[in-house]
């Protein structure tokens, strides 16, 4: 079962609470469905018309007593559903007071900008978190509505332009949790994926430390040429300004372009040559680079650790 995602692999206390509630309500619902189905099947068999018989059956107009019974029973069930809903809702989404966020996520068509205010780390599309800690995440969008959703870690929440949201994020065991943008946000909504990499506190601290540093610009070989081209070809117009994802530690990411491609040097080459092919209509333009230029830039980007 652990190959399956979503409710089948709850990996945070929030998600576990949600799954408990889901299971409870679904079991009751299936029971109600079962009772109704069995009742109807029984009636259909028992009271089917037998061809010889043409007399009309006894005419029966109803009974207030029966009506009251089947108003009160569902009302009680609904009451129980509501009570457990409220309990779970406050457990999953307690108020955050005036605590500062640990992570800021900003939605873009069609990638995620990530910022850790406490350490100043800036990255994209891949969230790193330490396990066993509840992070407070603040969410916003610069263009249309997106929705942050990592099924195994709990609730989803919209990223709404002009409206700030908060959510608690945690993971109880290390692993890579796949997620996606869940609110339809335009052409490439399907390729706006996110992943959360949950790791031990030490690994997380190491990651954060590395990402705080700006890697030295290579001065020799292909990579140096790439560094130069990266400036000349106007990549920085977008990639240093927040229009495109931050590329400072690109090679440490697992995927490219919000999950459209795996992050390998050869895929990076393909992506730079023709982004349109791998993520049609995305806002990363085809920069019309020559093979030499592409290879140089890739060498440069690979050197950024």
């Amino acid at each position: 079962m652990d190959k399956l995602g979503g409710v089948f692999n709850a990996s945070s206390p929030e998600m576990e609470a949600m799954v408990d509630l889901t299971l409870f309500i679904i079991i009751v619902a299936v029971a109600i469905l079962g009772i109704i189905t069995i009742a109807i099947t029984y009636i259909l068999i028992r009271y089917r018309r037998r061809s010889a018989d043409t007399a009309e059956p006894r005419q029966d107009f109803g009974s207030t007593k029966v009506e009251i019974v089947w108003t009160v029973i569902p009302a009680l069930i609904v009451g129980v559903f509501f009570f457990s809903t409220i309990k779970t809702m406050y457990a999953v989404n307690p108020p955050f007071g005036d605590r500062e966020p640990d992570l800021v996520i900003i939605g873009h068509q069609w990638w995620w900008e990530l910022f850790y205010p406490k350490s100043g780390v800036r990255t994209a599309n891949e969230v790193h978190i330490p396990i066993g800690k509840k992070l407070l995440v603040r969410l916003n969008s610069v263009d249309v509505i997106h929705d942050f959703w990592v099924p195994e870690l709990g609730p989803k929440i919209d990223l709404v332009p002009g409206h700030t949201n908060h959510i608690w994020l945690s993971a109880s065991k290390p692993g890579v949790y796949l997620g996606a943008c869940a609110e339809f946000c335009g052409v490439q909504h399907a390729n706006m994926r996110i992943r959360v990499i949950a790791e031990t506190q030490e690994d997380f601290d190491k990651w954060q430390e590395e990402h705080r540093k700006i890697p030295p610009t290579p001065t020799t070989g292909e990579a140096a040429l790439g560094a130069k081209l990266f400036q000349e070809k106007a990549c920085t117009n977008c990639h240093l300004t927040g229009v495109g994802p931050d590329l400072t530690h690109l090679s440490s990411r697992q995927t490219l372009a919000a999950g459209a491609l795996e992050n390998t040097p050869s895929n990076l080459v393909k992506w730079l040559k023709n982004p349109e092919k791998y993520k049609p209509s995305s806002y990363m333009p085809n920069m019309k680079l020559t093979d030499v230029e592409v290879n140089a830039i890739v060498a440069y980007l690979e050197a950024l650790k």
Binding site: L4, G5, G6, V7, F8, A17, M18, L21, T22, I25, I26, A29, V30, I32, L33, I36, I40, I43, L44, Y47, R49, E56, P57, R58, D60, F61, G62, S63, V66, E67, W70, T71, P74, F81, F82, T85, I86, M89, V92, P95, D143, V144, I145, D147, P151, P155, K156, I157, D158, V160, P161, G162, H163, L178, C181, A182, F184, G186, G259, S281
Partner: protein
């Protein structure tokens, strides 16, 4: 046997095709029966179009990383599919069958305002044309989803003209629906034959009445929101543009303030159909008439206060969410009353499994599946997982297809003899039924699981995660079987129109007034209306020894 004459509302017979032959006679008609039939034909057409759009989507989704359809086209397909099915299939079908039946069921000659009735119909057609015209514009059809959330649907993010046509088309049909609602209300209040008190009104008419009130209450909500969106798009107003001071969330309140009652507009008349079909084929009166009618009013009222259950993930706070959660869950109670009363109606009856009854009985189970998943997602913590996934897609296809559409099929088979004078083929009807049941459940049952496993909706492609491919394959196979079932259905209609056996006035031995006249009814509907002393006038006629109370 004493028969009392009709309410002398309209004295001269209304113009109709039977006076002058040809197409113009239909186009210019203001006869409620012709208009009703035109509604049904147009909705069948739109159903085929919307269905083909669905099939194309299913083919694209048949395996991971498929590239049969480009993302732009896929987005247009689900937008057009959803819009078409809701606004140009289920809604006008139910309005149309209401237009056909309400005057007959209450013993009137026509609607209160026959010309307004024709206007409603043609506004609906105009809306459909405007919507589909967008396919011929340079950038294609709208691609922002059937609820066109702002700011995505605003000019800066969707330059193409699709959403503009979409808004215009829906404004036109929307105004038409308000007119139908008004017309129905006045007709039902003023044109009932003597003796047909509100407490004796056929349940179908009751449900149409409540639906009509919902129409006049909630259509203006969306009309004003669409007007605002149009002003934003065309004149640079800034209602829903956060960048210039507008609010993205306000649109959602408006849309769902309409959108949720809308889903009851799509189901209440369907409940009405079920409430007519089940008693007749069980040979018993409806169990608990007052409760079935009263629960409809309760549903109508509750439905006005639950809209934000579509917005649990917007981040509006726990208290807010809790209110809308309980309001939504409460709807389970009146709906449950209905389901249980229908079930009790069959208890102790003599059930005749003709095609209408097959669809009606299956409706009960399929709809309850959809209703129960609805109650589950009315719980915010569950919805935080389920919203915008295939679980929701499964929920609303179980309510809309398993609910509304199954009832519509039941209604079509039930009233086909009345409208055409010929019986539909039982053999083809059963084929249609079984193919629909199998295809429908194959298509949509697995989508619950897909959603719970994390598949978002409105994605044109997906990664090859464990079992996703297999389940989507099952779903696509199911949809192809559904396609086949629809072909059988259309074939049945055509074949039965040509060579079905003549039906006679009352082939199902039913009890409401529409069965007291010929099939198809004459232009003026009735020469004489039987006396109405109870809920089942034709039962009273046939059983003078044991009339209803």
């Amino acid at each position: 046997m004493s028969r009392i004459p009709l309410v002398p509302e309209i004295t001269e017979p209304l113009p109709s095709i039977r006076e002058s032959e040809g197409l113009l006679a239909w186009v210019a008609s203001i006869d409620h029966k012709q208009i009703g039939i035109m509604y049904l034909i147009a909705t069948l057409f739109f159903f085929l179009v919307g269905g083909i759009e669905a099939l194309l989507m299913r083919i694209q989704l048949v395996r991971p990383e498929n590239d049969f359809i480009s993302p732009e086209v896929f987005n247009q397909l689900f937008t057009m599919h959803g819009t078409t099915m809701i606004f140009f299939v289920v809604m006008p079908f139910l309005i149309g069958i209401g237009v056909y039946l309400v005057p007959l069921m209450i013993g009137a000659r026509d609607m209160a305002f026959p010309r307004l009735n024709a206007l409603s119909y043609w506004l609906f057609v105009l809306g459909g044309l405007l919507l589909y015209f967008s396919f011929f514009t340079q950038s294609g059809a709208p691609d922002v989803g059937w609820f066109a959330y702002t700011p995505l649907s605003e000019k800066p993010f969707t330059l193409n003209k699709g959403p503009t046509y979409w808004v215009l088309g829906l404004l036109a049909t929307g105004i038409g629906s308000v007119a139908s609602g008004l017309n129905n209300i006045v007709t039902i209040i003023t044109l009932r034959t003597p003796g047909l008190t509100m407490r004796r009104l056929p349940l179908f008419v009751w449900m149409i009445l409540v639906t009509s009130f919902l129409l006049i209450f909630v259509m203006p909500i969306i009309t004003s929101a669409f007007a605002m969106l149009l002003l934003d798009r065309l004149l640079g107003a800034t209602f829903f543009m956060p960048a210039t001071g507008g609010s993205a969330i306000l649109y959602q309140h408006f849309f769902w303030g309409f959108g949720h009652p809308e889903v009851y507009i799509l189901i209440l008349p369907a409940f009405g159909i079920i409430s007519e079909v089940i008693p007749v084929f069980s040979r018993k009166p409806i169990y608990g008439y007052e409760f079935v009618a009263g629960s409809t009013v309760a549903i109508g009222l509750l439905s006005l206060g639950v809209w934000a259950h579509h917005m649990f993930a917007v981040g509006l706070g726990n208290v807010f969410n809790a209110f809308f959660a309980i309001a939504s869950m409460l709807i389970a109670i009146p709906t449950g009353i209905k389901v249980l009363n229908w079930t009790a109606t069959m208890w102790g009856g003599k059930i005749h499994f003709a095609t209408p009854m097959l669809f009606a009985v299956t409706f009960l189970i399929e709809f309850v599946v959809g209703g129960l998943s609805g109650v589950a997602i009315a719980s915010p913590p569950i919805d935080w997982q389920a919203t915008d996934t295939y679980f929701i897609v499964a929920h609303f296809h179980y309510t809309l297809f398993g609910g509304s559409l199954f009832a519509i099929f039941a209604g079509v088979y039930y009233w086909f003899p009345k409208m055409s004078g010929r019986m539909p083929s039982e053999r083809l009807g059963k084929w249609h039924f079984w193919l629909t049941v199998i295809g429908f459940n194959l298509t949509f049952l697995v989508q619950h699981l897909l959603g719970l496993m994390g598949m978002p909706r409105r994605v044109y492609t997906y990664h090859d995660l464990p079992y996703w491919g297999d389940m989507n394959l099952i779903s696509t196979v199911g949809s192809l079987i559904l396609g086949l079932s629809v072909i059988v259905f259309v074939w049945n209609i055509i074949a039965s129109l040509r060579s079905g056996i003549p039906a006679g006035n009352n082939p199902w031995n039913a009890w409401t007034l529409e069965w007291a006249t010929t099939s198809p009814p004459p232009v003026h509907n009735f020469d004489l209306v039987p006396p109405v002393h109870g809920r089942r006038p034709l039962w009273d006629l046939a059983h003078p020894d044991m009339p209803d109370k």
